[in-house]
């Protein structure tokens, strides 16, 4: 029973049962270094003993900041095995966010992936009395630092001596499955991020519900690539927890920047992704097709036409044209996906944010079995619903996964009840009560619809737009249509209390730049490209296309292109590290742009008229 165990215990058991099996592969200097379960367990044991030698006590916190890498996972499990509570910090977090999370979590040890993060933490270290040690994983650029708290990851492992995998067993056995294991910070689109505390056993049981929903993960060996941030609950599931309980072998790339190369090297059979990546990949493919030779493009168009018909038939449960489609797949789609390293995907799972149905359909046309899942940090690593597939119709997030009761509450808010609920927000009992409620139903804050057993997400409850005309609209529905364009990286629909809907658009620099080059449009950088009248026309055409699918009141009547790219690493940017838009901050930051979209002469006239009367 997973709820009576902990991740370090699962690792110790696996190392005993299958010592020579490959636990994961990590690319280092061009080679995928294979780690067996025995080596993995020994590393975690040494790391845990190293943390103990640093004086880490049970229940203290360890913060880890950096991109997904092998050592991140080892440090995480090592700290858990030492009895500590771990939490990850987004590698793109700004100094203020970092300071907030360090204070809020109160970490005693900070693990930095490389010198970049050491430089981020050192200026704050004086103001963080609880911080005792800073451990740096890749010390290749750390010279001339004179700080007594600084140690390398290798030195930390050395503190653990030559412990082998057997040394992990007593450590893991001493852990109480009901004690807290880690904290995951919510992205914080509204207000400061809250840290969701999760216990060992609860997390394992929750992750088991994902495997229960997708049994292929346990039935056969699968390769996957780790690239999602590990501080996110989905990233943690993929890199740490699922491999312990299934036959999923994670692969770490040389560097997160090399993701295309890593995907191509590994050719994963299972991929967990977020809409942003899926959309980016799809846009890149479409642009590549757009600039290819006429013959090749004609072949693609033909295959795509067939693929569309076939995909539609498949959604409706008919067989479609299996033979013709198999031919199209073998001659066009397979070579196409092969360039991305995605030709062997048996299951692609999208979560984290709503996936645009257009993007979803495109992957189905290409023959990738893409399914959408729905879950939140507060479910401790479980999913609430997921499309079973194969090739489910886009537009919903599937059926309820094991262990949940689901109902729609007031205002169609999704309420769930079950075992896989987080312990509570770290240090925020009030916020915990608001979400958990007294009746045992967890408030998700999302508005949904149930149709034929499948859940459809409408929007975040608090994000609804009520126009001046009294119509209630879902901004994410409009935004998803806009984002379906390869030229639009981010879109925010505006209209609350306004006469009509408008949108702020962030262009996708890569694709728009490519488009501009192919039309000999001169530009010098993001801003000059964003301000170019031709680009404005391009975006207008894309919005026109989206408007065709929108109801009259939903239609975007005006738009403005953001003059700069949204950068989560910058201080006070209206976007979270996962690139979710912080709406209130967006409106504040770009208020001139927004105001310029609404012609308010009428209001001013009325106000002016009323003012005279009232005064």
């Amino acid at each position: 029973m997973p709820q009576n165990k902990s991740a370090p215990l699962l690792l110790a058991e696996r190392a005993r049962r299958d010592p020579e099996g490959v636990a994961y592969r990590a690319k280092h200097l061009g080679l995928y270094r294979e780690r067996t379960w025995r080596e993995y367990a020994a590393l975690v044991a040494r790391c845990a003993l190293g943390f103990r030698a640093l004086g880490l006590q049970t229940g203290e916190r360890v913060a880890i900041m950096g991109d997904a890498c092998e050592e991140w996972v080892v440090a995480d499990l090592g700290a858990q095995a030492a009895g500590a509570i771990t939490y990850g910090i987004y590698p793109t977090a700004s100094a203020a966010e970092l300071e907030y999370q360090m204070r809020d979590g109160g970490a005693a040890v900070f693990v930095a992936e490389n010198q970049e993060y050491v430089d981020k933490i050192l200026p704050l270290a004086e103001r963080l009395p609880g911080l005792r040690s800073i451990v740096v994983i890749d010390d290749s650029a750390v010279f001339g630092y004179e700080d007594a708290r600084l140690a390398t990851f290798a030195a930390l492992l050395d503190l653990g001596g030559d412990a082998d995998c057997a040394a992990l067993e007593p450590l893991a056995a001493a852990l109480d499955p009901a004690s807290p294991a880690f904290i995951v910070y919510t992205s914080g689109t509204t207000g400061d991020p809250k840290g969701a505390l999760v216990a060992h056993g609860r997390h394992l049981a929750a992750a088991a519900n994902l495997i229960g929903h997708y049994p292929t993960l346990a039935e056969q060996a699968h390769r996957t690539v780790v690239y999602l941030p590990l501080c996110h609950i989905l990233g943690r599931d993929v890199a740490v927890t699922l491999p312990l309980m299934s036959r999923l072998v994670p692969h770490f790339g040389e560097d997160i920047e090399d993701l295309p190369q890593t995907l191509f090297d590994v050719a994963p059979t299972v991929l967990f992704s977020v809409p942003r990546y899926l959309q980016k990949f799809a846009a890149q493919v479409l642009i590549g097709i757009g600039s290819t030779s006429p013959l090749k493009r004609a072949a693609y168009e033909l295959a795509a036409r067939l693929g569309r018909t076939h995909a539609r038939a498949r959604w409706e449960g008919r067989s479609g044209f299996p033979l013709a489609y198999a031919l199209a797949r073998a001659t066009v789609f397979r070579p196409l996906l092969e360039k991305l390293g995605l030709d062997r995907l048996e299951l692609a799972i999208s979560g984290g944010a709503p996936l645009a149905p257009e993007t979803h359909a495109l992957w189905h046309i290409w023959g990738v079995n893409l399914v959408e899942i729905y879950g939140q940090t507060e479910e401790a690593g479980a999913i609430i619903t997921g499309q079973k597939g194969p090739f489910p119709r886009p537009g919903n997030v599937g059926t309820v996964a094991g262990g949940w009761e689901l109902k729609l509450g007031g205002g169609n808010e999704i309420l769930i009840r079950g075992d896989h609920v987080f312990e509570g927000y770290w240090g925020k009992p009030q916020a915990t009560r608001e979400v958990k409620g007294e009746d045992g139903w967890l408030r998700t804050g999302d508005v949904g619809k149930l149709a034929g057993g499948a859940l459809r997400l409408v929007d975040r409850a608090r994000d609804f737009i009520v126009t001046a005309g009294g119509k209630t609209l879902s901004p994410s529905f409009i935004e998803n249509l806009l984002r379906a364009s390869p030229y639009v990286a981010e879109a925010m629909a505006i209209g609350h209390g306004r006469k009509y809907v408008t949108a702020l658009i962030e262009i996708d620099y890569d694709t728009v730049a490519d488009w501009a080059r192919s039309r000999s449009i001169a530009y010098t950088g993001f801003t000059s490209l964003a301000r170019h009248p031709e680009v404005s026309k391009l975006v207008a055409a894309e919005i026109e296309r989206a408007n065709d699918e929108l109801g009259r009141v939903e239609q975007v009547k005006a738009f403005r292109i953001l003059p700069k790219a949204l950068d989560p690493e910058e201080e006070g940017e209206p976007v979270t590290p996962t690139r979710k838009v912080k709406r209130a901050l967006m409106l504040e930051r770009f208020k001139e742009l927004v105001a310029s979209m609404y012609d308010e002469r009428e209001e001013r006239l009325v106000a002016a008229g009323a003012g005279e009367v009232l005064d």
Binding site: G30, P260, L263, A267, F281, S291, K296, P335, L340
Partner: protein
């Protein structure tokens, strides 16, 4: 380092980086190609078999010249002289001492190596055109010496060489020759491919790039140049020895300057800096005159043009050379790579991988 052409080839050991054949597709195609080569003599007619033997024989010399010119960047116009040296060593040893092939072959190789040092010495001082002229001078010296030997010993029409023997068995049948030459060509190709991936081969490419930079990187430019000449000459002399046995006849007239030009053409038309180019160029240059002949027969011009058949051949050859230099400096291998890319990138034109932000 190999660059994998299809997805899903991750390496866990550096040894995998050294593999000549990487992906399953490559291995499968290679197996098909080898099977076709082995089956060829059993389906080909006498002319086709002789042509194949000529191609295989010439490929040794072409690979050797590719190493010297295409990789190490040293121009040599003495290639026919080196072939002659190998052939004459064999002929003289056979005539004077009745030496068997297992003595003449290493002797030819030694003669080639020694000449390589002599050919290479000017390269330490001279570059470009001057080097070409100095190697040309050596060519004439070798041919002159061979001619002198012929006249002094009274073989003014040439030296007759008996087929090599091993016990009772004589190598005199075209099919047997095919397999011997195939083995020799394959061995040379493997040797060259491996040499190019070694320290020596990398040094050659470096001096080709720029000598000053190579020297700054710690490469001994003199040694690299001399080794390039020695390796190339040795292979060429071995090819000359095989040539003597295959033809059964050695004569100074067979090693004219035109032969050198043919080898240079193989390297250029094939594509500089590619072993595959050397092979493609050999096939092209050896078969070209036969193709012209066939074309003339087909057009019914053979009768009328019989008096000028050589002129037609030469001028067509020259024209093809010029066309390649102007329109496809990368040679046949450039065409091959473009065709390959067309399929490898399908359905794209460029790799669509800028990566996500």
């Amino acid at each position: 380092m190999n660059v994998a052409r299809s997805s899903g080839y991750y390496r866990t050991r550096y040894g995998e980086d050294f593999a000549l054949l990487d992906t399953k597709t490559q291995k499968a195609w290679c197996a098909v190609f080898v099977a076709a080569l082995l089956a060829y003599p059993f389906v080909a007619g006498p002319l086709a078999l002789d042509l194949a033997n000529q191609v295989l024989l010439a490929s040794l010399g072409a690979i050797a010249l590719m190493l010297l010119t295409g990789y190490a960047g040293q121009i040599s116009l003495g290639h026919a002289g080196l072939l002659a040296a190998g052939a004459f060593t064999t002929g003289i040893l056979f005539k004077e001492l009745a030496a068997p092939f297992w003595l003449t072959l290493p002797a030819a190789a030694l003669a080639g190596a020694a000449l390589g040092v002599i050919f290479g010495l000017p390269s330490l001082r001279l570059r470009g055109l001057y080097l070409a002229v100095s190697t040309l001078a050596l060519h004439f010296i070798v041919i002159y010496a061979g001619g002198e030997y012929e006249t002094r010993r009274g073989f003014s029409t040439g030296i007759i060489v008996d087929p090599p023997r091993l016990g009772d068995w004589a190598l005199d049948e075209p099919r047997a020759w095919y397999f011997v030459l195939l083995a020799a060509a394959a061995a040379t190709l493997l040797f060259a491919a491996n040499l190019l991936r070694s320290r020596t081969g990398r040094a050659w490419r470096a001096i080709h790039g720029r000598e000053a930079v190579a020297a700054a990187l710690g490469i001994s430019v003199h040694r690299a140049k001399l080794s390039a000449f020695v390796v190339s000459s040795t292979i060429t002399a071995i090819a000359g020895c095989l040539f003597a046995y295959y033809r059964g006849f050695v004569s100074a007239e067979a090693f004219s300057l035109y032969l050198t030009i043919e080898y240079v053409a193989m390297v250029i038309i094939g594509g500089m800096g590619s072993l595959l180019g050397a092979l493609l160029g050999t096939v092209f240059v050896v078969l070209f005159p036969y193709a012209i002949d066939a074309a003339m027969n087909l057009l019914g011009l053979a009768e009328r043009l019989s008096s000028v058949v050589f002129a037609v051949n030469y001028s067509a050859f020259g024209l093809v050379m010029i066309l390649f230099l102007v329109f496809e400096p990368q040679g046949l291998v450039g065409l091959w790579r473009r065709a390959q890319d067309w399929f490898l990138l399908w359905p794209f034109k460029q790799r669509p991988l800028a990566g996500p932000r």
